[in-house]
């Protein structure tokens, strides 16, 4: 997701200036997605260019509030109504890393899996600690964000367990290297 929709959703509540947008954004995601003020203003100027928001006259304090336009409301409604496709998310670097590790000679694949599992577990512990500190309905928004991260980390650990089990099961069954690329030796075949 881009910051664009986050800011549009906040402006839907009412006019806000840059600093308020940043604070509200971080509050609604429990600080799991920190923004710098530069990102906020860059996004606001793009939104203004596309007629999705408009800037209002400056306050006495020199702060310029922004309000959402009808086009902005329509854009936001479309975003809420459209499911997020898997293809819209970045490619999974970890899956690619493991796939490459399997086909690269001399790489300790079980070692990579364990190191990743420990790192992911550590994150999961920390998310859980953060979750323990939440209480009450006021925290619901960001607890849901946090739980999303918890479930994703859990899924990653489960997938790593699965990779390890697959590796253990298939390791004793060496298959001949492909004739077209004899230099590409499966790591486990090399050690088996």
């Amino acid at each position: 997701m881009s910051i664009k929709y986050g800011l549009l959703a906040l402006l839907q509540r009412g006019t806000m200036y840059g600093y308020q947008l940043r604070t509200s954004f971080e509050e609604s995601t429990g600080g799991t997605w920190p923004l710098n003020i530069g990102q906020v203003y860059t996004t606001l100027s793009r939104l203004e260019r596309d007629d999705l928001v408009r800037s209002l006259p400056e306050h006495d304090g020199g702060q310029r509030p922004y309000e959402i336009t009808d086009a902005g409301r329509a854009e936001l409604a479309t975003w809420f109504a459209t499911p997020i496709g898997r293809g819209d998310r970045p490619r999974d670097e970890l899956a690619i890393k493991l796939a490459l590790a399997l086909t690269t000679p001399g790489v300790d694949v079980p070692g990579i899996i364990q190191a990743q599992r420990t790192a992911t577990m550590r994150m999961l512990q920390e998310y859980t600690r953060m979750k323990q500190r939440t209480a009450g309905p006021a925290d619901l928004s960001w607890r849901l964000v946090l739980e999303s991260m918890i479930f994703q980390a859990e899924a990653e650990v489960r997938w790593l367990d699965h990779c390890e089990a697959s590796l253990a099961r298939h390791a004793p069954l060496p298959t001949p290297p492909p004739a077209t690329a004899p230099e590409t030796v499966h790591d486990k075949e090399k050690t088996a």
Partner: protein, 239 residues
């Protein structure tokens, strides 16, 4: 002082060709206020470790000490007293006695330990309140849901002054909200000064622990503690 200490513990099952090296040189210390999760695939030695920690089984080599007492040095009777007095067990199969009420199930280990019936009952009621089951003292196990029965089993494990809580997949087949309530209870008991060991294959449950020990083929392959600075977690969240 540590509540639980395993020193270079080995456990071999069977002999000859049927020998299984369940644990191979495991060392571990669990202090008061500390919850340690043990994770690993089936057959990695998790349950063997828990049985050794609880004095339900003895090591082939090495030592297990609970509150400084080496279990191998105790006779059967002394070991049974230590188990009843200092150790609380929460297992996946709840082992609640069907002919006893919730309160009676909880009071039973105290009564076996020589505590008077009235005192044991008072402690049982307190323990039931801790797991939010105040009104269920007179219910029999088959009059309660799976989640409620699990909470009774936890209340029984936590009753009295247990210093070491051992839990083997305590959330069993519970739904995620009820399972989380069980973990919160365990965490609270540990935060109040007990030491806990939680065996689980679920990462989300292990994450409630202060440390996670990974077992593979009877060997500790890695240990994960939480980060000191949670801010690091948020790096990359904006990318």
């Amino acid at each position: 002082m540590s509540v639980l200490e395993l020193r270079d513990v080995h456990r071999i099952h069977g002999s000859g060709e049927a020998t299984v090296l369940a644990l191979r040189g495991v060392s571990m210390i669990v202090r008061p206020g500390e919850l340690v999760a043990v994770m690993g695939p089936s057959g990695s030695g998790k349950s063997t470790l828990l049985n050794l920690a609880g004095g339900l089984d003895g090591p082939t080599q090495g030592e297990v000490a609970v509150e400084g007492t080496v279990l191998g040095g105790l006779n059967r009777k002394a070991l049974a007293v230590l188990r009843r007095h200092s150790i609380g067990y929460v297992f996946q199969d709840l082992n609640l006695l069907p002919s006893l009420t919730a309160a009676e199930n909880i009071a039973l280990p105290l009564e076996l330990d020589g505590v008077g019936v009235r005192r044991a009952r008072r402690a049982a009621l307190t323990s039931l309140a801790e797991v939010d089951l105040e009104g269920y003292a007179q219910r029999f196990p088959d009059e309660m849901s799976g989640g409620q029965q699990q909470r009774v089993a936890i209340a029984r494990a936590l009753v009295g002054q247990r210093r070491l809580i051992l839990a083997d997949e305590p959330t069993g087949a519970l739904d995620s909200q009820t399972g989380e309530a069980v973990l919160r209870l365990l965490r609270a008991k540990v935060d109040a000064g007990a030491a806990g060991v939680l065996v689980t294959h679920e990462a989300r449950h292990a994450a409630w622990a202060d440390r996670v020990v990974f077992l593979r083929d009877g060997v500790v392959v890695d240990t994960s503690g939480p980060l000191a600075e949670p801010e690091h977690l948020l790096d990359g969240a904006s990318s």
